[in-house]
Every structure is written in C-alpha cells, then in structure tokens.
Symmetry: C2
Subunit: 428 residues, 2 copies
C-alpha cells in the first residue's frame, strides 16, 4: 500500500552524517565506556587530530553534568623530535610533575577517556634503542598510575579515531579521503555506533561477553594448549585466575565500565613461570610508533629464550630488555576469528583493533582483576599465584582461522575450546 | 658590469619560504625570547593550530641541548564548551593539580614560551558573566604562578602565530589564504624574523629600548598627564618606580630574556591611588575571547568610578568586578605611534600586537620589576609604594597620533614627553 501521506514514500533510513556518528561515538565513550555520571570529573587524552571528537565528548560531558573536563592533546611529532634530537643522557628523564598529575587524577577516581589513533610508523625514522629508552622512562614514571588503571580503580576507556596517517596505512590503495571514510566505516561498525541504539546494543554485547567469561572461569583450566601455523604453545594459567569479559567494575564507586571500545575479547592471567613452546604472531604489531612484523617467540619456564622478527627486531629487543617481566606473559585473550572486526579481513596496525580481531597474548604485567579478588591481594600474593609483573603490557596477536585451543584440566582431561579459530566449547 | 660567473646575474635575495621563516621565529623565541641554554627545560604552551611552530621550537630546543620540552596544547573550543554547557555552580572550579603543575615548573625556573594567536571572538557566543566567573577562578588558581612570571623569576616569552580565525578578523576583506599570508607578513616584520640576522637585530633593538627606559627612569616623574581624543588623565607614578624596556633579568639565574616578541614599549608602574580623569581607549580589546570596543573609564582617587562601552560593556563589567585592584591601574606603557606595528595602521584585536602599536594602560596587578628592587620587596612595601595588586592584568590601548604626554616633576615643572604620539623628550 505505501505511505498515504502526499509526497512521501517508504524509504530506507537516511544515512547518518559523519557529525552525527561522531556525536554517537562520543556518547558511547561516555555512557558505555566510563559510565559517566552527573558531577563526574573527566580526564580526556588524545591526539591533536582527534580534536573534533574530543570537543564533542567535552560538550556532552558538560551536558551530562560534568564537574570539569580536563583535556590533554598529545602529538607524536614531539616524541619524534625528542627521539631524534635530544641528548642521549636525557632520554631516561620524564617530567615528574606530569606523572604526579596523572596519579592525582587517577587516584581521585576521575573518569578517564583516551582517544586512540596514530600513524603506526610515527617513529619509524628514530633509533629503536632510543625510543625504547624513552618508553622505559615513561613507563617507570607512570607505573603507579597504570597500576590503578589495571586494577580498575577508576573508570577508564579507550575509543578510536580515524586519523589520516592510520587510514592510509590500513587502506594503502585508496585516496586519502576514501581511506579515512573507509576506516570510519570500520570504526563505526565495530563500536556499534551504527546500531539503532548504540547503548542498548552495547548492553546486549557486554552481557554476552561477560557470560562467556564466567563460563570459562567455571572450567578452571590449568593451562591452554594453543596450536597454529608456527605455534605450539602451552600456556599455564595463574592459580585462581578468572576470565574477564567486557565489563569492569570501578574500585572507587563500583560502577561498571567498558575499558575498550570496541571489545570482542575474553581474557585471563597466564602463569608467569609456566609457559612452554613457540608462538608466531599472526598480525604485525605497532609498538611506540614502530612496526614489528613476522615475529615469533620461544618460551621456556615462562620466559622468552629466543625470538625472531622479519621486520623491527630491534624494536622487539628494546621491549624485551625493559625488565624480567617483559619477557613473560601477562595476558591470554580469546577472540573468535569470525568476530566482526576479524571478519573485516583487514590488518589495522593498531592494538585496539587488531586485538579485537584475533586471539592474543600480552608480554608484561598482568591484570590483578584476572585473579579472584585480585585487586584486594598484595603484590606478593599476586606474584605467588603466578601473575606477571613488569613496567610494560604489550599485546600481540596469535589468532587465525587455523588456530586450535585446548583447555587442560588438573586431572589430565582435555577440553576443546576453539577449533579453526572458532568457539567449540560445549554450551556456547 | 654584472657578475662574471657564467649563468648568474645580480638578483635580490631569494624570498624565504614560510617554513624557513617559521624556523627563524622558533629561533627568535628560544634565543631572544627566553635566552635558551644547554640543559634547560622548556615549558611550551600554545593553540592546537600553532602545532607547526611548536614542533619547530621543540626540535630546535633539543638541538640546543634541552633536558626536556613539555608541550601543552590549548583549545578555545573547550573553554567555549565549558562556558556554554557546564553547570553554573561548577564555573568557580579549576583543576588544582594543573595549577600545582604550572607552579612547580615555574618555581623550578623552567623556561616558558607561550605561543599566542586566537580568534578574538572565540567566546562571543557565551555569556560574559559566566566567562568572567571562569576567568576569575583560573586567575585565582594560577595567581602564584603569574606572580613568579611578573617578578621575572623564570625566563618567559610570548610569540605570535597567525591562526586563521585571527587573520580573518584582521583582514576581513581578504580570502582566508591571503588573510593568513598577510598576517604572517606583519608578524615576521614585527618579530624581526625578516632581518638578515634576527638575533643581531633584536640585540640592537633591545639595547635601544633599554636605554630609553633608563633615560625615563632618570627623569623621576611624579606623574604623567595624558591628553587625546576623549582622554584627559593624570597618572601618578609609584614611588621609586623604574621604567622597563625590552630586557628582563631572570631571578633564577640572572639571564636576560625578552618577555614579548614583538615588543616596542617602555613601561612603568602607576600609583594605584593617584589616577584622576577620563581615558578613552583608542583600539578595541579582545579579552578572554570576547571583544570590547569604543570604551572609556573615569578615575577618581585611582579607582574607576564610571565606564562605558559601545560594545561588550558586560565583558568590561565582569572584568572590573574581579576585585578592587581590577578597577585600578598596574601599568603605564609608552609606544610611539610611528612604531613599526603602529605604522602598519591595522587593528590586530590581539594584545601582543596592539599593545606594541600604541601607548597603553593596564588595569590590575603591577609588575614588581617596575619598582626599584621591587622583586626583593615584600608585598606590603610594594603596596605602600603604590604598586597595584589584583588577580588580573589587562592592557588596553590609549595611544594615537593625537596623544600628548607631559611628565610632571615633584617641583611642579612639566616636561614634554610625547607630542602627537611621538617622542619629544630632549635627548631622544
């Protein structure tokens, strides 16, 4: 019959403009990401080029009743200038007043939103050893603050922004404008901004991931055995480990928040001393503005005893030399190959995207929240349970359509968890 | 005869590219502005849109041996968001951790460069009373830090950047690109970037202004009588006042620095209680992103007892209501109408430019350095000498080709200082 009103016909919904979608992404960051509430203070950090989104987040935060929004713009060109031109002996320095400020704000429990989006090769022209030195100094100075974040003390989240240099890297054959438009489409799909009601869509998605995490926690695996091209790795899990899904709970006021927008993963704590075998990364890694590709690690007694990389071996070396814990695992995360981001079949050269496209491991510090009552335990107790400690936490991807994961139980039983990159655990 | 080398002819020097001129402006900021030295730390603050210059300053600072460069990008859109959307009762807040950081850095004596350049109407759509409330809170929180700057504790300077919205305001009839190019030309001329050797040119210029300041200090005027269109004002000077030229001396290490790039002024301290008559501004004032125009003040006993404005009276009201000192004078500066910036015959809607195009006064706090040994005196002693105190310091322009200034001596003698906007003091 059609619509009877003159001059109208039944049509598909009008496509939303970039501006509307950015406003929706701002809303997702605030309402889903940090569970923003009236009278909250917000700390907002992101690149210069993301100013458009950061201004929208600021406006909406004030409309939601923010007490204050403090914005810090970051600029990789400044890190590059330092990495290239600063005197060698100054690279171990970090402005303590900036570290103090970050800690004050985090300890007070201010909500924290980081806008992520950068040229994966931003520091490609700098000496990896010098960049490594700068990163170590920063990680050392900001250690107390990242401890608070990793223990879910304050509500925090990371949301993406399609900066042009990143878009060019992901879509090298497209024009600059088209590359950015395509990256935005990928971002808005992955962040559920294009859903009818993004907040409702996130509620359903988080419920699903949280239920999956609970199901895995109940299994009580002693270890996971991961097999795939170039990979045959036994990852022991920490004693009393639990799996986490999308939702975290703030230690300050108990509110729920979602630390990664997007997120498709469930993750838990490996045992720092019980990892054996070899693992080959399935995707390149952009770490500190430098790309590592075609790399693998061999573990013995939980520690990397050998590594190789087709590109960026010196970046990897600087990372592994950070401290003892940088050579051990702090996170094991499972993501089905058919996840919306993985299904896009793209390399994103960005941890926030690639880690939600593929199962992954992280070198370095583990999350206290992936131990039962972990946030309440002392660091000795955490370490005794097998939780790794380090200045760094760096994810790298291992998932693919050829990855199998088997769960090993204390009684010797083995349970299929993933086959060919997809969940096969009974009851899922 | 011409040049005998084959294929060459005598030509004018190749015009410098924008990039070269920006590099030179960065050099002037560092070497002239803050007298940058090996192992200095630098605090660099400026608008997002000035990133190009700020990155060049950062690179050159590291090349000069900087220990660290800490950059803070500011964004008037964020202030506008707060002014428009934040809850009324939150406007008196200011992030104390940011104020603490600014003070720590200043007290330590880090060199400080502020890049100035903004849309003069950036906050035009906001309620002036709300903006006034935000400004008061910021001025209160940053009071201790600005005390250090006004006493020349650390080396600091301000340099301009031709942001597009500012260029459009100054050259409203030009295209966006042409307006910016013309503003850059004005900036590079005024900042002596286009001189053969900008650092040498600045040395000569500063010597000249410093000698002029010394000459005026020796006169020991009791007051200045200023007359012009709408202006008949007697400005008593503080007891023991001295005039300052271009050069300041850092309290931390005695180095010389030039706090304004450009500067064309000599300035001293009015007596807070001895100002009588009426003064009409000769140029509009952009204060906190809002423009005031066609305004005048009437003083009795040093205090504004009446004021009027053709535009922006409510901005003026918010300023005058800051505190008692905001209604009194803290600076009297003389600039000949023929100064390079004044001679350009342009309104710049920017204090750094307009104050160096025209003689001016400032409402609010006086500079301790404009009293003999002022930095060493207690605030009671400064106040007793007549130095004004306030949370604010806001320059407004009074100079024109029709302004006369007479110096009044304690014995009743009168000495012509400026006539029709030009120096006539004997010996200049």
């Amino acid at each position: 019959m059609g619509d009877l009103r003159a001059g109208t016909t039944t049509t598909a919904p009008r496509p939303r403009s970039l501006e509307e979608r950015l406003d929706r992404l701002a809303m997702v960051a605030l309402r889903v990401g940090v569970g923003f509430e009236h009278d909250d203070r917000l700390r907002l950090v992101g690149p210069l080029e993301a100013a458009d989104l950061m201004r929208r987040i600021t406006v909406q935060a004030y409309e939601l009743g923010a007490a204050y929004v403090d914005v810090r713009y970051v600029d990789p060109h400044l890190s590059l200038a330092r990495a290239r031109y600063a005197r060698e002996e100054t690279l171990d320095g970090f402005p303590t007043e900036q570290a103090d400020l970050a800690f004050t704000v985090a300890e007070r429990g201010d909500a924290s939103i980081t806008v992520s989006g950068k040229d994966p090769d931003a520091l490609a022209s700098a000496d990896p050893a010098r960049v490594g030195r700068m990163n170590r100094a920063a990680n050392r100075a900001l250690r107390a603050t990242s401890d608070l974040a990793m223990a879910s003390h304050m509500p925090w989240t990371i949301v993406p922004f399609a900066v042009p240099a990143w878009a060019r890297k992901v879509f090298p054959d497209a024009s600059a404008a088209e590359a950015q438009a395509r990256l935005w489409d990928a971002i808005f799909a992955a962040t559920r901004v294009d859903a009818d009601d993004p907040v409702v869509a996130w509620g359903a998605h988080a419920t699903q991931l949280d239920a999956l995490a609970e199901r895995l926690s109940r299994e009580g695996f002693e270890a996971l055995h991961v097999r795939g091209p170039g990979t045959d790795l036994r990852v022991g899990l920490a004693r009393g480990h639990v799996w986490e899904g999308a939702s975290s709970v703030s230690g300050v006021d108990g509110r729920r928040f979602v630390a990664n927008i997007p997120t498709e993963e469930v993750f838990t704590a490996p045992h720092a001393e019980h990892v054996e075998g070899t693992v080959r990364a399935s995707r390149p890694l952009s770490y500190g503005g430098q790309v590592v590709d075609g790399f693998s690690f061999t573990f013995e007694g939980g520690t990397v005893v050998d590594y190789a990389a087709e590109r960026g071996a010196s970046v990897l070396r600087a990372l592994l030399e950070t401290d003892t814990g940088a050579r051990r695992l702090g996170e094991m995360a499972l993501v089905p190959h058919s996840s919306p981001i993985g299904a896009a079949g793209r390399l994103f050269y960005d941890t926030l995207f690639d880690e939600n496209a593929a199962s992954h491991l992280a070198l370095g510090r583990g999350y206290p929240t992936t131990l039962r009552d972990g946030a309440a335990r002392s660091s000795d107790e955490r370490s005794h349970a097998g939780l790794n400690d380090s200045l760094v936490h760096v994810d790298f991807m291992i998932g693919s359509a050829e990855m199998d994961v088997v769960g090993l139980l204390a009684d010797g039983d083995a349970v299929d968890v993933m086959r060919r990159g997809e969940w096969v655990l009974g009851g899922l």
